[in-house]
């Protein structure tokens, strides 16, 4: 069947092995390269503890929002409303906190955002409609609401926010900003959820093979609703923390989180567990974006160049991930053929 001709075949197989093992860590490698490049270009400034912390600080909110989105993506659903929900969270927080106890205010805001996720989930699962369009619709509604809510005060809410609350956004513990604790906490909890709980594993099953999950009696509906509730809540938390950090809220404050979260999540799906969305990958993607942003700022590189680089890296990462997966598949097929026990996958189609 496959004639081992030696020589060329051996070289080819070794090459495949390298690509297969290495492909998974391509983005991590890229991250390290970025680090190296920036460290070399700005030796005294970039690679300091303070700057590294700075990177984490800048990406902490994106990490939280993207983590919530990752759960939806695991379930094979799109949540386009996260940007608008983040804005809503910020705007509501800025509006309520001056008048209530901060804890109640924060919980209330997150509850509202969770409720929006619930509405999204209910519409999408009950009526079996496209998540893309539904969340597009809710996003539009929420954007309008945020504009209305802030219209009375000249579009920016900033007065009366309690100092204690602002401390959350700017303070630190043992020199590590609180925001980083939030991000790490969220990432750890979601990582554990997706990888070590029944609920999380079933989410992967539903997203990976809806038929198999359905035949096994798993209720996709409940899991998807949970996914949207999570992404809504975390987007809301992002908004709340935005206010803590910036001390204000205005109706476009959450916009960039939409596309950035998707970018970061997809970068994550090109890392380590290639082809699957996962929290660790999302973290790597977030770090890449943060490193680029930080490095470019230090180098005085203008924002537009960052955008271009961001887009290019996304395409490069996802392309190579695609190649990697095709290669893996081809190698597996060949191995199966070689062992000689390859049967035909059961022909379906019986009525």
């Amino acid at each position: 069947m496959s004639r081992r001709v030696g020589g060329r075949n051996v070289v080819r197989r070794r090459f495949e092995w390298i690509v297969l093992k290495g492909g998974r860590y391509g983005t991590v490698l890229g991250l390290l390269v970025l680090f190296g490049v920036f460290a070399a270009l700005k030796p005294n400034v970039f690679f300091t503890g303070r700057n590294i912390l700075n990177i984490f600080n800048q990406i902490s909110l994106l990490g939280i929002c993207a983590a919530g989105l990752t759960v939806c993506l695991v379930l094979n659903e799109f949540d386009l409303s996260i940007g608008a929900v983040a804005t809503l969270g910020a705007v509501l927080a800025a509006g309520w906190l001056p008048h209530t106890h901060p804890a109640i205010g924060v919980v209330g805001v997150i509850a509202v955002c969770a409720g929006i996720g619930l509405v999204n989930g209910l519409i999408i699962t009950t009526l079996r409609v496209s998540s893309f369009m539904t969340t597009l619709g809710t996003m539009t509604v929420l954007t309008g609401f945020s504009y209305w809510y802030t219209s009375g005060s000249g579009s920016i809410l900033y007065s009366g926010i309690p100092k204690g609350f602002l401390q959350i956004g700017k303070g630190s513990f043992l020199h590590i900003p609180y925001l980083i604790f939030f991000m790490v906490g969220v990432l750890v909890v979601l990582h554990v959820l997706l990888n070590h709980t029944t609920t999380g594993r079933r989410m992967y099953a539903v997203g990976g093979s809806p038929e198999a999950a359905r035949f096994a009696g798993i209720s996709a509906r409940r899991l998807k609703i949970l996914g949207f509730v999570l992404s809504g809540s975390l987007a809301g938390l992002t908004g709340v923390l935005l206010v803590a950090r910036l001390g204000l809220a205005e109706p476009t404050i959450g916009d960039r989180f939409l596309f950035d979260s998707f970018t970061v999540a997809f970068l994550g799906a090109a890392s380590i567990r290639v082809g699957r969305f996962h929290i660790l990958g999302t973290l790597i993607g977030t770090l890449i974006m943060g490193t680029i942003f930080n490095g470019f700022t230090l180098l005085d590189v203008p924002y537009h160049l960052q955008l271009i680089v961001q887009g290019a890296i996304l395409i490069a990462a996802v392309s190579s991930a695609g190649f990697w997966m095709n290669l893996l598949q081809a190698v597996r097929l060949q191995a199966a053929g070689r062992s000689g026990r390859r049967g035909e996958k059961g022909a379906s189609g019986d009525v």
Binding site: G208, F215, A216, R332, G343
Partner: protein, 509 residues
């Protein structure tokens, strides 16, 4: 070891009816199952077996009929409810989650073992437990392996392990042995028998009739969406069973093939053809004009792969030569194949053959759009001419539809298949490859298709008829090649062509 008498039946299905748009899948089917019994369910492709099982599994809702479990009626079924009622299924499509490893696939749908204080998944415990089950079943697979790296036979064994993971009362297996090697089949039989001895009821669906005789106590035969017969296996012979399956209409089904016809020049010449996955392997044969060459084998033998390989849609040629009407032919993709006069009626009609949402006439012209343009610049389609040609095809092939505008997904399976044929017959193909052409099609449509195939051959095309149904191969083909493990093991000439001989050659006894 089941006994008849006042003992309550474990499962009863009465008058089950189910229709899909365009087809009746099940019509008033009765089926019952005793405790600890092995009950075989047989029928040709499209007879309704898989649909009946999917109804039982809660995947399709039934249109009419009752289902009783241990005497209690069940109104509403879902996969979860079926599972809770103790029913376990191994469907033909396996349904494994490709991203998961073996252990997670086996536990899919059942609760994971959790660690005491944290209530998180106890992975080691899971692997241990699953490993134990795999060992008991004599399945030498590491539970941590990714399911995508397994061969189909190994995947099947994982599916069995999943079905047996939690204790059930009813086990339904749909075509279990199609991907298993001989030793594994023996193991499977021993397992099935021991399960039945312990009280589990088994529904065993298979095309391989000898297995029925070796394994089952009772057999139910489905034909054309109806139940034909339920009886003790001991009271039947193989021949009688076959007759019930196919019906005494064998003679009328097939067109007469005149003896001593002159064949045309070679249309397809294949020498030492091997594909990269070994299906086929060192295959050589010739198809001449005006000839219908059958190719068959057990599932996995390589005959279906041959169709896709020759048409350029799947698989890659590793070595060997192919010539089409004397000129070298390297199938690159479907478009290339079509330009060389090759046509394929694919095995999966709904997913590969027709675009269901499009009307009939658009499906028919799809492969030869160039012929129906008003002018080459604007590339606007000449609707009138296209519909006229479609009308002609509809008449010639006796396609039953409300008109050329009817959406193809609303046609019956037989008519859909005729639409696929019509698509290729717009320009007489040099080589027509048919892959499982009558699967899921009612008898009268089958007869029409057989007649069409012979007619096409008479007009000069070379026809490669790939099928796993021995009767139709015997009835329609001039010669039949039998493959096993990708290799040619026997060639049956016209004189030796009977369904029995074909099945013999497939099993290689």
């Amino acid at each position: 070891m089941g006994t008849t008498g006042p003992e309550p039946l474990r499962l009863e299905m009465r008058g089950i009816t189910k229709t899909f748009p365009g087809t009746v899948a099940c019509e008033e089917i009765d089926f019952d199952l005793r405790r600890g019994e092995i009950h075989a369910l047989v029928g040709q492709n499209g007879a309704g077996k898989s649909t009946l099982i999917k109804i039982l599994a809660g995947i399709h809702p039934r249109d009419a009929g009752e289902i009783l479990i241990e005497g209690k009626p069940v109104e509403h079924l879902s996969p979860r409810i079926a599972h809770d009622l103790g029913m376990r299924f191994i469907h033909q499509e396996l349904n494994l989650v490709p991203q998961f490893n073996v252990a997670e696939n086996i536990v899919l749908g059942d609760p994971y073992p959790l660690r005491k204080p944290t209530r998180l998944i106890d992975w080691r415990g899971l692997n241990r437990h699953v490993g134990g089950i795999l060992e008991n079943l004599n399945i030498p697979i590491d539970p941590r392996r990714s399911v995508q790296s397994l061969t189909v036979a190994e995947q099947w064994m994982v599916a069995i392990a999943r079905a047996l993971y939690s204790k059930g009362n009813v086990l339904v297996m749909d075509e279990p042995t199609s991907s298993l090697a001989r030793d594994d089949v023996r193991e499977l039989f021993a397992l099935v028998k021991s399960l039945a001895a312990k009280g589990t009821s088994i529904v065993y669906i298979s095309h391989r009739l000898e297995e029925i005789f070796e394994l089952a106590e009772r057999v139910t035969v489905l034909k054309d969406s109806r139940k034909v017969l339920t009886t003790e296996v001991a009271s039947l012979t193989l021949g009688e069973l076959v007759r019930h399956l196919v019906g005494g209409r064998l003679q009328e089904l097939f067109p007469t093939i005149e003896e001593g016809r002159t064949l045309g020049d070679p249309v397809l010449e294949v020498s030492d053809l091997s594909a990269t996955d070994g299906r086929p392997s060192d295959l050589s044969f010739v198809v001449r004009g005006r000839e219908v060459l059958g190719v068959t084998g057990l599932l996995g033998a390589g005959h279906n792969e041959l169709a896709d390989l020759l048409f350029g849609v799947r698989g890659r040629v590793a070595s060997g030569r192919i010539a089409l009407a004397g000129t070298a032919y390297a199938p690159r993709n479907a478009r290339h194949a079509v330009s060389r006069g090759v046509a394929l009626v694919p095995a999966e009609r709904r997913s590969q053959g027709v675009v269901g949402e499009m009307p009939l006439w658009e499906n028919v012209i799809l492969a030869h759009l160039r012929r129906f343009l008003i002018d080459p610049v604007t590339r606007i389609v000449d609707r009138k001419r296209a519909r006229r040609s479609t009308g002609e095809q509809m008449k010639a092939l006796q396609i039953v539809a409300t008109g050329p505008d009817q959406e193809v997904r609303n046609l019956s399976g037989g008519n859909q298949q005729k639409v696929v044929l019509a698509k290729w017959l717009l320009e007489s193909p040099r080589l027509l490859i048919l892959s499982e052409p009558t699967r899921g099609i009612d008898v009268s449509a089958k007869a029409e298709i057989y007649a069409l195939v012979r007619e096409l051959a008479d007009r000069g095309s070379g026809i490669l008829f790939i099928s796993t149904e021995a009767e139709e191969l015997a009835g329609v083909c001039d010669r039949v090649l039998v493959l096993r493990d990708g290799r040619l093991v026997e060639e049956l000439p016209r004189e030796a062509l009977t369904a029995h001989r074909i099945m013999e050659a497939c099993y290689g006894e």
